[in-house]
Amino acid sequence: MGSPVVVEGLCVSAGDAKLVDQLSFSIQPGEVLALIGESGSGKTTTALALMGYARRGCRISGGSVHVGDVDVLALKPRQLRALRGRTVAYVAQSAAASFNPSRCILDQVVEPAVLHGKLRRAEAELKAIALFRELALPEPELIGSRYPHQVSGGQLQRLMAAMALITDPEVVILDEPTTALDVTTQIEVLRAFRRVVRERQVTAVYVSHDLAVVAQMADRILVLRDGCMRELSTTERLLTAPQHEYTKSLLAAARPSPRAQAPLADDAEPLLRLRGVSAGYGPRGADGQPAIPILSDIDLELRRGQAIGVIGESGSGKTTLARAVAGLLAPCAGTMEFRGQALKPRLADRSRDELRRIQIVFQSADTALNPSQTIERILARPLQFYKGLSGAALQRRIEELLDLVQLPRSLAKRLPAGLSGGQKQRVSLARALAAEPDLILCDEVTSALDTVVGAAVLDLMAQLRRDLGVSYLFISHDLHTVRAVCDEIVVMQHGRKLTQVARRDFDRGPHHPYYEQLARAVPELRRGWLDELDAQRPAPVLRAV
């Protein structure tokens, strides 16, 4: 049974800036409280403060945190060390970065129990195996002897939960534990977490930016923005009758509605046509097949002005498809046609005009913008390169582009580090638009963004398509996103195209079973969705994820 957590007037500051301001809430024993908000809202900072921890450069500047009858903020460093991992445990977002790659998993999972002197090593190992079984991990007796790189991301996340639970903590903090996973994996992990949390009756804090996920896990939801509490109520009430404006916008963004789109003329000319395209990495063998084949036999037709979504789990070959079209990876078989002419497989063989017509926008805007160039220079380069613009004409075009992606012109002189995630993604789009392309390859463009920011970027993309008539090849693992902007959806698995679904058939079945599975795996924004899903398949299949 967990302990109650009472937080009163919590303040965390970094220098003069307040990251968390006068936050008060309490959690009943065995209750799951969700902290929700966009990045920078202070949700992780709050979660860490529950363990009496502030990140480097931050300081817990006021308030009190009680776990059970312990005043956490009054503890000395030694006592804090005894508290962390034993009374309060933490599950971080990226399990891959949280495990030591050079030690086997079991050693690391039993460490908290042994370190805190709670169990002897042999007992701890038995307990760990029981926990692995409870978390529905495959081969619970053997998985512990593997190394972190030998298991999948979803398994690693559950192993980390086992590490947190091995000391029977009274409070567990789950910090975006499923954000880095794709939908089908996420659902398995959620299911495992929820069962353990329910059965053990631990008090839990679940940090997330995804309302739909939180709706399955939490009893109550606390909405944070700019370090202040905006709303705190039970999950049902928050979902059905949100009080605060910000909560309403979160809810709206979590249910992406199809963006209005002029119907595509049936006789629109084909822009891109792929026939039997196969590609892979590594040296090619005697049969012309690469050592690691990724894509096999893809057919695809994209008409001018059309947006086609490509979905699939990670490793399904969606990004490889975009790389092949962009010329970054030469296909080993098949033909590509662009505007009725053969598209050369290699970048070096394509003409500058062909290059201009296909642009690519990446997932992570952090790595897609050169950090040492100002926004102005980033946007100026394609204009100079393709169009030879200079002087006032160049300046004017840069301003037009910034207007087009709805960024203030004053950003032109900044470096990318001075921009928020959503702004960076808009700059990436503007850079692609600078070339006036026919086709933009969008690789998970909204995956790294918060729901609200991502929704705004989707709106922008839909509008650009209406206004400029560009086509998109829109790659995503999120079916909702794809449905919101695309005319057709291509479903990929293991490098093959399974099916293609047109917009008018989105809601009409039956579709390919894998499409149905993906569609079901997207958490819905209502309570009990996961329960219904479980009820539909009474004997849960233990699938390796």
Partner: protein, 291 residues
Amino acid sequence: MTSVSTSGTFPRPAPRCRGSWLTQFGVVGVAGLLVLAFWGLAAAFGPALLSRSGAAGGGEVFAPMSAAHWLGTDYLGRDMLARVIEGARYTVGVALVATLLASGTGTLLALLAAASGRWTDAALSRGLDTLTAIPGKMLALLMVAGFGSSIGMLVVTAAVIYVPGAYRMARSLAININALDYVTVARTRGEGTLYVMLREILPNIAGPMLADLGLRFVYIVLLLASLSFLGLGVQPPSADWGSLVRENIGALADGGASVVVPSLAIASLTIAVNLVIDNLPGRAARERGAR
């Protein structure tokens, strides 16, 4: 531009277009610049301003500081001030030029290796590995024996010895940058290798490479001193600072100025180089903007 105002939604405007170029260095950076400028001027004009030449000896050996000899005299009774000022030419000139040459060449080759294909990379890497395999001093010995000892030769020798290290460093940085999305975007735009090297990769490895340059500078000063010790470096009666330390080592027991001053000179130059590098305006701005 109609409005260049950087205020607004973001609380921390990028510190561009504000203040003069010099103030962006900060106090510490400016101090480093001043020391560098001092030694630069001393190397250029110092010997002409001195009343006596460092070559003129015959006075008291290891004399303490006095009005006649501000920094005392060395082991042959020569004026230490003149020796240090004249030594600045060799240390600042030879060491700095050699360092710039080594780091510059290493970085350029590394950029080429990272930005072009597998074969160029392999050829360059293996070639420079071979160079690393030859002990530095041995190589210097060979080169001086083959081509004679001159200032130009010393610069080239020191540079050649330290190119592989700079190359390794820069290559490992550049390979990482080369894998980032913005370089991929530049490639799909159709940019040539030179643009990718100089515009996309170089500015992003410049920070660590400059730090490396500071370290390499120290190594080269030490290399020159040890070459002089073998009689292969700057030829007597001229001497760089490293040689000055070595030849006056006898004064160490008494804490004589003749050994302390050249050591301080080396330290001041090295620290100044590193201070300036650490406070370069672009770098500071990036770090402030980053978090």
